[in-house]
């Protein structure tokens, strides 16, 4: 029972990380109509930049805080140099160009940071466990991810629901032409949203780094998962992305944690431990396919 609860918490933690990544993706698609495959590269860049900044400042917290403006700046540059030219293009052009960006960033990282992976240590003040329930210890760092992730999710919900920028974002996601009619500086809004997406992606990369590792291509597979999430949730819908991220997080973690034991009842140990992660990955895609067959525009997507 405790084990299940722990794994579910891990699922929440993964889900929140995925949500950070998916939020930027769903906003850029919903508002700018941009399929940005390079969003995973921003995640990777976030992790590498954080690694450098933490090394320089010799402080996890300061390095992490500095990562935010750095990734924002990176987002603005990518937007200005490439993304901006793609908004009006069809999806195929966008796929092609941002696929090129992935190759570029993966290689850039290799040039700057070298081919070997890096690791960011869990900061000292979080390197212990907290007792979330009596008699149930949980790593403090993972708990911190949940707290920060939830805080960002709440912040984003507030931003979208209550502020003027959020109003524009919602208007843009439901009707792109409308924001133009409102006489808003669209270019600025677009840059801002893209930069914000980059910050979220970078933040996700930074927070994931001490748990996984910082390596080339780390954003590629997770990007696909983020796409799956926004597609399940319905493109452009923050709420949908949140719910889908939670679902995917649970499937992935709980599947990995419990499938091996289940599978061992009818196959060899080795086969079971190879098959289990594969099956939990597969499950995610099965859920997505099922949702799309049932609702071709996702859970909260716009009906046409």
């Amino acid at each position: 029972m405790d084990y299940l609860l722990l794994q579910m918490l891990n699922g929440v933690q993964l889900g929140l990380l995925m949500f950070l990544l998916a939020a930027g993706l769903t906003l850029t698609f919903g508002i700018m109509d941009l399929v940005n495959l390079a969003h995973g590269s921003l995640y990777m860049m976030g992790a590498y930049i954080a690694w450098t900044l933490i090394g320089w400042t010799d402080s996890f917290v300061i390095g992490a805080i500095l990562t935010v403006p750095a990734t924002f700046l990176l987002g603005l540059v990518v937007e200005a140099v490439v993304a901006r030219r793609l908004y009006a293009r069809d999806h195929l052009d966008q796929v092609l160009a941002t696929f090129g960006l992935i190759l570029f960033f993966n290689e850039l990282v290799r040039v700057i940071w070298g081919p070997a992976g890096k690791s960011i240590a869990v900061p000292q003040f979080l390197n212990h466990t907290v007792e979330i329930l009596p008699g149930m210890p949980y790593p403090a760092y993972r708990f911190a991810i949940i707290v920060v992730g939830a805080a960002v999710a709440v912040l984003l919900a507030w931003l979208v629901a209550r502020t003027r920028v959020g109003m524009l974002i919602r208007a843009g996601a439901s009707n792109r032409r409308m924001i133009g009619a409102l006489g808003v500086n669209i270019e600025l809004l677009f840059s801002l949203v893209f930069g914000l997406g980059a910050v979220f992606a970078g933040l996700a990369g930074l927070m994931a780094a001490p748990i996984t590792s910082v390596k080339i291509g780390m954003g590629d597979d997770i990007l696909i998962l983020a796409f799956v999430i926004i597609v399940i949730g319905g493109i452009g819908s923050i709420k949908g992305a949140f719910i889908a991220a939670m679902v995917v997080g649970q499937i992935d973690i709980v599947g990995r944690a419990f499938l091996p034991d289940l599978l061992k009842t009818f196959m060899s140990n080795a086969a079971a431990s190879t098959a289990a992660p594969a099956i939990s990955q597969v499950l995610v895609y099965v859920v997505m396919a099922g949702v799309l067959v049932w609702r071709p525009t996702g859970l909260f997507g716009q009906r046409t």
Binding site: G100, L101, F104, E107, L108, R110, I224, Q281
Partner: protein
């Protein structure tokens, strides 16, 4: 053939086909066996690219999971071979059938969606198979599996590099021939019309979904053929052959060569492999060691192609028709 030589496009096409047809002789004459192996890969990838072009170029269906057919074709051959079924007469039809059925299933489910949803659902189905491949402990899981080549006793020995190359080349020619029929037949007009304006096609009375599904299925079958050949080329299968990056590469190739053109995918494949092989040494000329980072040049090239060169290589040879 003679008339074709009068236009630049025709001249290039004939030249490319002739060079490909005699490639084993050339590589033997200049003692460049490595080049034959690249040539074989080019021919096999061209078959896959032509098959993707059927739906992407002519049909406007942006499938981001086409490499899955490499995997299905390859794994069908590999799995049969691992169980001692080495006859190509059994392996190949089974592999083709598997690819066709999978394409029909994926098409039936994903063609209900549009736009980004279609892109992502085709990718998702490909990932699904990719992870299944990675989970098959008995067939090497992520590491893949060495297999023995398909046997066609008394007909052809696939272990002979030159014979295998020529078989691939003949199959490429067959695929190109089918694609030319496909594009200009009644069926092709429906598919191309639906790309241009599917609402209009429906209003004209075409059940567009059925035609798209048929095209998707056919395309998958030819993709499976490429997978069969790829597995035989390296005598090896692994999930990596159907990773999403390979699907991306295939899209790059089709766009690079010229979407919706018969020979575009062939030019695209050649260009792609030539770049992959030549960029590293070229960069090394600038400074030793730079070649390793060739994708830092290739990536931005893709961006530029997407932004400014959508006609692809084919459009360099003048306007069509």
């Amino acid at each position: 053939m003679i008339a074709a030589l009068r236009t630049p496009r025709g001249l290039v096409t004939v030249l490319v086909l002739v060079v490909l047809a005699v490639l084993p002789l050339l590589t033997q004459a200049f003692d460049q066996r490595y080049l034959l192996s690249i040539g074989t890969k080019i021919v096999i990838w061209s078959i896959a690219a032509v098959s993707l072009n059927m739906i992407l170029g002519y049909g406007g269906m942006v499938s981001f999971g086409h490499a899955v057919f490499f995997g299905i074709g390859g794994y069908a051959v590999g799995i049969l071979s691992a169980h001692g079924v080495s006859s190509g007469w059994i392996q190949w039809p089974v592999a083709l059938l598997a690819a066709t059925l999978w394409a029909a299933l994926v098409g039936a489910l994903s063609l209900r969606t549009r736009g980004l949803y279609f892109i992502m659902i085709t990718l998702a189905f490909a990932q699904l198979v990719y992870y299944v491949g990675g989970g098959l402990e008995a067939y090497g899981a992520d590491d893949g599996l060495n297999i023995s080549r398909s046997r066609f006793p008394g007909v052809i020995d696939l272990r002979n590099k030159a014979s295998f190359y020529w078989l691939c080349f003949v199959l490429l020619c067959g695929t190109l021939w089918f694609c030319s029929r496909f594009a200009n037949s009644r069926f092709g007009y429906v598919i191309r019309g639906a790309k241009s304006n599917d609402l209009r096609m429906t209003a004209l009375g075409f059940p567009v979904f059925r035609y798209r599904l048929a095209a998707f299925t056919i395309s998958g079958a030819f993709g499976g053929l490429a997978g069969i050949l790829l597995a035989n080329e390296g005598a090896y299968i692994s999930p990596a052959m159907m990773s999403w990056v390979k699907s991306g590469d295939l899209i790059v190739i089709v766009v690079l060569g010229g979407m919706g053109t018969l020979f575009g995918p062939l030019y695209g494949t050649i260009a792609f492999f030539v770049l992959e092989e030549s960029l590293p040494p070229l960069l090394d000329l600038g400074r030793k060691g730079w070649g390793e980072y060739w994708q830092i040049v290739f990536g931005p090239m893709l961006v530029l192609i997407a932004l400014y060169a959508r006609g692809g290589i084919d459009s360099l040879f003048g306007r069509r028709r």
